[in-house]
Symmetry: C2
Subunit: 213 residues, 2 copies
């Protein structure tokens, strides 16, 4: 046994913590345990383990909360999320917070040990099915569920709205659509009223938030 990474286990079920500890055997040093967010932050800050085995759902918050609290304190450690959940949202949120791996509790003991070692060495580890979620989120092709706000705009109004959001002047929009400036004004006015916005700046950020531009 060349290297024995130190580990803190965070899970709200005593039984799970005991099980994980048993599975890990003496391949790692378990130097702390915690059952909720507060305990976890204290334990990690106190003992700075190489790796934190982190349940995603805790009674007082989420695994992401723990990660955020620790990174906010400038403490350097590595997180491996360990959860029964294989929901994309759970995976993404905890990875976005800074976890470097995510495995489900269905993992076999030898694989868990290997996963912890790899994380300790700086690699990332995923249950195969879960890596896909991260990739999907990464090359985010979020197919917007057709915003109902948008349906309230007539086709022409939507065209004008897009150009407005990009910062084109009325004159430019008129030229591009081959209509008069006055018509553009009319459309612009209706767009703003229908979307309950008061200027093209608000429209710009509105459109940016919904990835329309």
């Amino acid at each position: 046994m060349a290297y024995q990474p130190s580990v803190v286990i965070v899970d709200d079920h005593d039984l799970v913590r005991a099980g994980v500890k048993a599975q890990l055997g003496d391949a790692v040093r378990v130097i702390g345990e915690a059952a909720d967010v507060h305990e976890a932050v204290d334990a990690i800050a106190d003992r700075t383990p190489d790796v934190v085995l982190l349940d995603v759902h805790l009674p007082s918050g989420t695994g992401a909360d723990v990660i955020n609290a620790i990174t906010a304190r400038g403490i350097e450690t590595k997180f491996l999320a360990l959860s029964v959940s294989d929901a994309p949202d759970d995976v993404i949120s905890v990875i976005r917070a800074g976890a470097r791996g995510y495995v489900t509790k269905a993992i076999k003991d030898t694989e868990l040990i290997e996963a912890v070692i790899r994380i300790a060495e700086g690699d990332a580890v995923f249950s195969p099915r879960l890596a896909g979620f991260v990739i999907d989120a990464f090359s985010a092709t979020i197919p917007e569920p057709t915003d109902p706000e948008l349906d309230r705009l007539s086709p022409r109004e939507q065209e004008v709205m897009r150009l407005l959001a990009r910062g084109y002047a009325y004159k430019e929009i008129a030229r591009r659509l081959n209509i008069s400036i006055k018509t553009v004004e009319t459309h612009a006015s209706k767009v703003l009223r229908k979307l309950q916005l008061s200027s093209r700046h608000e429209l710009s950020s509105w459109a940016a938030r919904r990835r329309i531009v």
Copy 2:
């Protein structure tokens, strides 16, 4: 052998293609090969394999080029990047283009077969060391290298610039900074000139691109 995914192999070296084919054995059906970007696009479009084994560096372009061309045509297939390179940039760019996995050519034959099967089933597969790059890029904490353009603005001008970029009216900015509207105008004018922009809309997108706001 329950399921035999169809595969197209893209690599500019005959030897490598032969080697890959040998390693895959009869676990998959190799239904096409290609040695450059153009050949690859034709072969994939023609035969629509379940999985494309894709070298990252090709004589006439990159693996990402192939992926972009195929997705542009609306063809659905899955890409597994297979490269000698383990450079983060190579990994990121090909994943960003849409590959669902990346393994190095050091992979063992049984692992390669398993990787192809997993990709065919919709999972993502990575050599462990490479997954880390994707995670790093994903939770991208790009520390901006202090834009030299920004240094050309005086402190006060930078303040005004930020507020302008957020869409505040001169009146608002004047109120917040406790100065007159005329002074805000002066600063705004200088900011636009120094940054060679012509309107606050350009300033907004300029600032958004550099993550200043």
